[in-house]
Structures are given as C-alpha cells and as structure tokens.
Symmetry: C2
Subunit: 214 residues, 2 copies
C-alpha cells in the first residue's frame, strides 16, 4: 500500500521546493517508495478534518493504513526506519545520523525561519530594516559552526543519511539570500544534495503541481 | 558502563531545570540508567575540545564508550530506543510518539525560544516593547493548538512517552511568563510531568549543582 502525503494546493514558494512536503517526497524517492499526494488549500488546512491529522494545521501529513503522522522530521524518520538507504546499519553511525536530523530541525532551522518570516510578519514595522541584519547574523553564526564541522567532507557523517537530507532542505531555505555563498563548502553541500536523482524526481513532482495550477 | 553527559558549570537559570541537560537527566531517570556529569564553563563550551563533541558549542552532550552525541532530542531518542519505558512497543504508537518529539522541538519550541531570548537580545532596542506582544501571540497560537489537541487527556498519545517528556520541558520554558495559565489543561499537563518521581530526581540533581556553586 502506498502512503498518502499532503501538500499545498498553491505552494507559497511557487514550486521552488521549499514547502516541507519536499522533504517527504525526497525521502520516499531515495528509498524507492511510490506515494500518493492529496492537495489541501490554506482554508482546508485550518479546518477540523485536517486538524485531526495535523493539530497545528500545516502540511505535510503522512497516512499509511491506520497510521497518521505529521512533522516532516518524524515522517522522514519513519520512512528511514522502514526502508534501506537513509540510515546507516551500524548502531553508532545511525545514532549520529539521527543527531543530525534533530540538529537540522532544532538548531539550524529556527534562526533561518525567523529570518525568512521577518519580511512577512514585520516588513511594515519601523524596526524592520534595523532588525534584519541581527537576524542574518544569528543565521551566519550557525552556518559558520556548521561549515567548520563539515570541512571538506561530502556529507555530515561519512555517508549520505536522513540527517543530510533534512540539513540540505533547511539550508535551501536560504536560496536567494546570498548567505550560503559566504560558505562555499555549504553551497557545495547543498548542490551535492540537489544533484541526487531522488532529489530531482521529488523536485520535479512538486513543481509539476504548481505548474498545472497556472 | 554509565554514559557521561555535559551540563552548565553555572546554569543561567540558577537551577530551575530549564537547561537542556534536564531533558537527558529526566530520560535517564525514567529508564533507571545511572549517569555521570561533566560540567563545562561558558568559555570551555566554545573551545575546540568541546566543539569536537558539539559543533554548535552547547550543552548537553552524551558520551558512551566510543559514541558521542549532541542535540537533546537525539539523545533522548537514543535513550528511549535502548531502554524500556519511553516509547510504546506498538509500531504505530511508537511512530506517533516520535512525531510528538519532533513537534515539541520543531513546532512548539522555536517561538517559545524567540520570546524567551528577546529580553536578552533586544531589550535595549526601541522596538522591544512593541514587539514582545507579537512574539507572545505567536506562542499563544501554538499553545492554543496544542491545548485543543490534548483536550482532557493525561498525555499526548495515551501513555507517557519521550514525546511528552520533551513537550513538558519545552512548555516549562514558559514558567513565570503567565502564558501557560491561560491554558489550564496545559498547566495541568506540565504539573503531571513535574510530579513524576523521575522528573523530581532529575530536577534535584541539576539544582544540587547550582546550590553547591553558591
């Protein structure tokens, strides 16, 4: 049985692969698991039927038989646990890969989301121009630490894992900001992720939804 | 062999159990695993020896033989996977518990941290007084959604799990803000967590470190 995920009916990023369903699509493509997609409108996301699946009224969700999950990190982990290809076999290497999953979502992503949301939430505020550089410096601090750890390695812990998959999607949120260009090894790391055939299939699938709506 | 975790030599919260080592201590107490603690200063946290363990220069870390982990979510998960008591046996219930772990750290915690950091980062800014209510409304939005999902249940998905452990520690960050009082079921949920004997042992252990330094 193929799982069903949810995605935006009209993605705010216009098909740039920034919505969090991209993470799930990429993971499913990496392990070769076909899936179905149900599109939801912004209005439907906040209604009781969708909230029963996702208490915070967001996408993506994941349904498989009588199992319903939300949170992109948890869904990627669920896929990684049940298929070969996203977590190493060695127990210690697996625990380190899980560490990078949490690091991507709890340490690196929050300041990036703050910086990304500021134009939507606060562009009309008097403080916007003065505050944006502070937000960018917080992002830069994290990027610097991540860049130092990655060094000239291809992936965060030897082989590509679900930790890299999430980290690449988190760093891609900075596309267009110019901030990644300050860290050539991180830019190359993101490009390495984007070059994977599974990434490309996932990207094309979400873009096709946007294009079909225009 | 007992694992060794790191904690603040001088916790900024003065022993209120808000530092992230509390999550690890609580998890280890729930499963009955003794542990050692190595205290680190703010200066030492940013030096190469500690950064080798934790690329972002923070606490906690977790060392067990030749395994070294960071990120409180990943460490709690590692403990939960290797011991009985923090994740359900049923595969679907286990996946849902993992979902709540990620929800606590990636959906609920970030706006709470933003609101908590504002006084440290921006109290001297002209916009501080006007912006704080906006931050509080973002937290309130998440709390409202979480409160609606929890309803009158004791725990987020039937039995206490690592998802509740993380969510309670995330919500405790609001202690003293008055915001939790607006959601009586969430206040009761946090109190239910704090009443667990394992929580109390963990809390007392971190408080003792603070008291011994005074």
């Amino acid at each position: 049985m193929s799982p069903t995920i949810t995605a935006f009916e009209q993605s705010p990023d216009h098909g740039k692969g920034q919505a969090r369903d991209m993470r799930i699509r990429w993971a499913l493509e990496e392990v070769g698991q076909p899936y179905d997609v149900r599109l939801v409108s912004f209005k439907a996301m906040k209604e009781p039927a969708h909230r029963a699946l996702h208490p915070f009224g967001q996408i993506p969700t994941y349904e498989e038989g009588d199992l319903a999950l939300f949170e992109s990190g948890a869904i990627v982990f669920h896929i990684a646990e049940r298929h070969v290809g996203l977590l190493p076999d060695d127990a210690n290497a697996r625990a380190r890969a899980v560490t990078w999953m949490f690091a991507a979502l709890n340490t690196v992503e929050p300041p990036i989301v703050e910086r990304e949301q500021a134009p939507y939430l606060e562009r009309d505020k008097a403080w916007y121009d003065e505050r944006l550089p502070l937000l960018e410096d917080r992002v830069r601090g994290r990027l610097n630490e991540l860049s130092n750890r990655l060094g000239d390695a291809d992936w965060l812990d030897n082989t590509f894992s679900a930790g890299d998959l999430l980290m690449v999607t988190v760093l891609r949120r900075l596309n267009g900001s110019g901030m990644l260009d300050e860290f050539p090894n991180l830019s190359a790391y993101v490009a390495r992720g984007e070059a994977r055939p599974a990434f490309k299939r996932a990207f094309d699938a979400q873009l096709a939804i946007w294009q079909a709506r225009q």
